[in-house]
Point group: C2
Chain length 402, copies 2
């Protein structure tokens, strides 16, 4: 079969991502990976999950093994609505919530709901690699806005929105990662959040707020979410259990205006009918029994320690001409090297030295950045962090001295 003659335009354009190829390499023995955004495997609450799962199967096995509603099981949506209330978000009912099969599915459904091929969206640059993939799969045209230490640069955002209006371009949405940005580490300030909401209102553009890391704050005060500050229903917030519980739950959730949630339900029905009632029940019980709160304390403490270790190691081993972020939380540091170094090319040498990272170009829709890379600190051990940063530091020293 000449498959190429049969493929859709978007399928023909899809290429394997660098991050994916990288993750294959990281399985080799002796490799230290700062690549993926993996939680710390050793902290997984295995016994508690085993306890919960047994209880569910023996007490409500009938329901939890069967098909369930596309929008998610009621018990979980009620629990999530309650969590939103505790966070200070007003007027969230279960009708505002859909459970998704991972927040990656949330991104894909968002693309599917809003994008015709060629439609324009606004994202930060850099931005999350999985979002680029999901939006590319539906033919997005990216307008990108740079970040500074306070998040997306709002003045440039406003210029772009004005330009779009003048040119009659219908910006479908603005995609933002406001907390402990992946990969840039920055957190959007309260003042900017409010300005962005005003722009969203004035220019009538929805905001997609992706918040996987909000619960992983190590220092400083929580900034209210865009969803919480939004008084007109323009914000669609995506969250996930992958970073606060464990990834193989494959659970995310979207909170938004009921009208758009109904659209998500229709599109999700065609995508996978429903999310697992079993993993949804596990997540519900994990929250209800108070285990989530305890587990979050544990991982915050561990990740904070690991980040500190990585920052100290960077100071000790990295050459003077390099810079890095000092985020208030999350899972990543973002490293800047001198512009004559191409971090995509450097990766091959790093892998030979048995250390891996994600090159900056992966986080730009048009891959225009060559002098950054992302380091994950949640997955490796303290020893691996010290050793890996030492290896990377030596490699960079050699490059810079040349």
């Amino acid at each position: 079969m000449e498959w190429n003659l049969k493929l859709s335009d978007t399928a023909q354009k899809m290429r394997a991502s660098e991050i994916r190829e990288l993750l294959k390499v990281t399985e080799k023995p002796g490799m230290i990976s700062f690549g993926g955004g993996f939680p710390d495997t050793t902290l997984f609450p295995k016994k508690r999950i085993a306890e919960i799962t047994k209880d569910i199967l023996l007490n409500q096995g009938d329901k939890s093994l069967q098909y369930s509603a596309t929008e998610g099981i009621t018990e979980l949506r009620e629990t999530l609505a309650k969590m939103a209330e505790e966070e200070g978000i007003e007027n969230v009912s279960i009708e505002n919530i859909i459970v998704t099969t991972s927040s990656q599915q949330g991104l894909q459904l968002t693309a599917q709901i809003f994008l015709n091929p060629g439609d324009t969206i606004i994202t930060e640059a850099p931005t999350y690699v999985g979002a680029i993939q999901a939006f590319n799969a539906f033919g997005a045209n990216f307008w990108t806005i740079p970040l500074d230490e306070n998040g997306i640069r709002v003045a440039i955002l406003e210029e772009k929105l004005k330009e779009a209006k003048e040119k009659g371009i219908n910006i479908k949405f603005i995609y933002l990662i406001p907390n402990f940005h992946n990969p840039a580490g920055v957190t959007l300030t309260l003042a900017r959040r409010q300005e962005i909401l005003q722009l969203s209102h004035r220019y009538e553009v929805p905001i997609v707020e992706d918040d996987p890391y909000g619960e992983l704050r190590f220092r400083g005060k929580k900034t209210p979410s865009l969803l919480q500050l939004d008084k007109i229903g323009n914000v669609i917030r995506l969250r996930t259990f992958s970073k606060i519980c464990f990834p193989s739950l494959r659970l995310g959730w979207i909170t938004a205006d009921t009208e758009i949630i109904r659209r998500y339900v229709l599109v999700k029905q065609a995508a996978d009918l429903c999310t697992s009632a079993l993993t949804q029940s596990i997540a519900t019980e994990f929250i209800k029994r108070g285990y989530l709160r305890e587990y979050l304390k544990k991982i915050r403490k561990s990740y904070k320690e690991k980040m500190k270790t990585m920052l100290n190691a960077l100071k000790k081993y990295f050459p003077k001409d390099t810079q890095w972020t000092k985020p208030q939380g999350g899972m990543f540091l973002w490293i800047k090297v001198p512009e004559f170094i191409n971090t995509s090319e450097l990766l091959k040498e790093a892998v030979e030295e048995k250390v891996a990272y994600v090159p900056g170009s992966a986080f730009y829709p048009y891959q225009e950045d060559k002098c950054h890379f992302r380091l994950n600190f949640s997955y490796p051990t303290i020893e691996q962090i010290n050793l890996g940063i030492q290896r990377l530091g030596r490699l960079l020293e050699r490059k810079i001295q040349k």
Copy 2:
């Protein structure tokens, strides 16, 4: 927000499906539902799943709670390759297999890989409602071929393929449900399978073989699958654990040429990154410990008994002017009523009588059929089958006598 100004063309066209609205109704007390394609909840192997899950969490919890490869965990793909070998399919390696988050996702990914809006595909009429939804979500143009008691009418299929070739229309694929067709109950004969493969080869059109029910044969001899008979790699076979194990695993798998499997992997990565390593590990152990074989025996026996009960009840309670299929397996009967009865309209009255089915129109992409409905016999109890068919019979008697 004026959401309509922001939606994609396909999202604007999507409507809630009849089957979905129906399933909501069936939750009312006293309702007997012949609607969904649900397995028998009471037969679920709850204790065995609890036993397996505990073992997995305590022995390989680290791996089974973490992110996993997009194509599926190696252990499951190896087990599925071995199952294919035992079935008599040659040359299936793990490179030919991708695990999907339900076979509904398999359908969605298929649509995404092959379809630009307006592209033409060929399906049977009637065909699976979930396939219609998935293909519609990517703007499919359906050419439909009628069925008879031996499956799709091959002479008409050939005419259509010839017509497409003459007109320069690139048929993207032929979608077939060869075993115990949903909803029509018929099984495609060996001779026709071979003819279809020749047509696929001659006209260079891939075949998407959807086989959720193949293991649910109650009588007669197994017909080799199209994948098994295919010598040139044109067949993409979709299977699912929902009907042979339990739906909340949310597990399906696709077997096909390695080149097209690689495309599925790319598209799936953007769709949900990976399927749950936990549910994949449960399925692997369920097969390896021999539980699947035992469980299949149990559900085959039960569903056979239930089908027999339903056929007897139909004979006893349904008016003379109605007809129904007598399938060799699966989960459904397909009922034909006199043409002056509109089964979509009749459903409202049926629901008042506390009995539900899926009207025939749901199984046609352009909803052209009004005088059929589908009955599921796997989910209700023997008592419910007798009572529900009696209720439906009385309702039909009244309509026909009028």
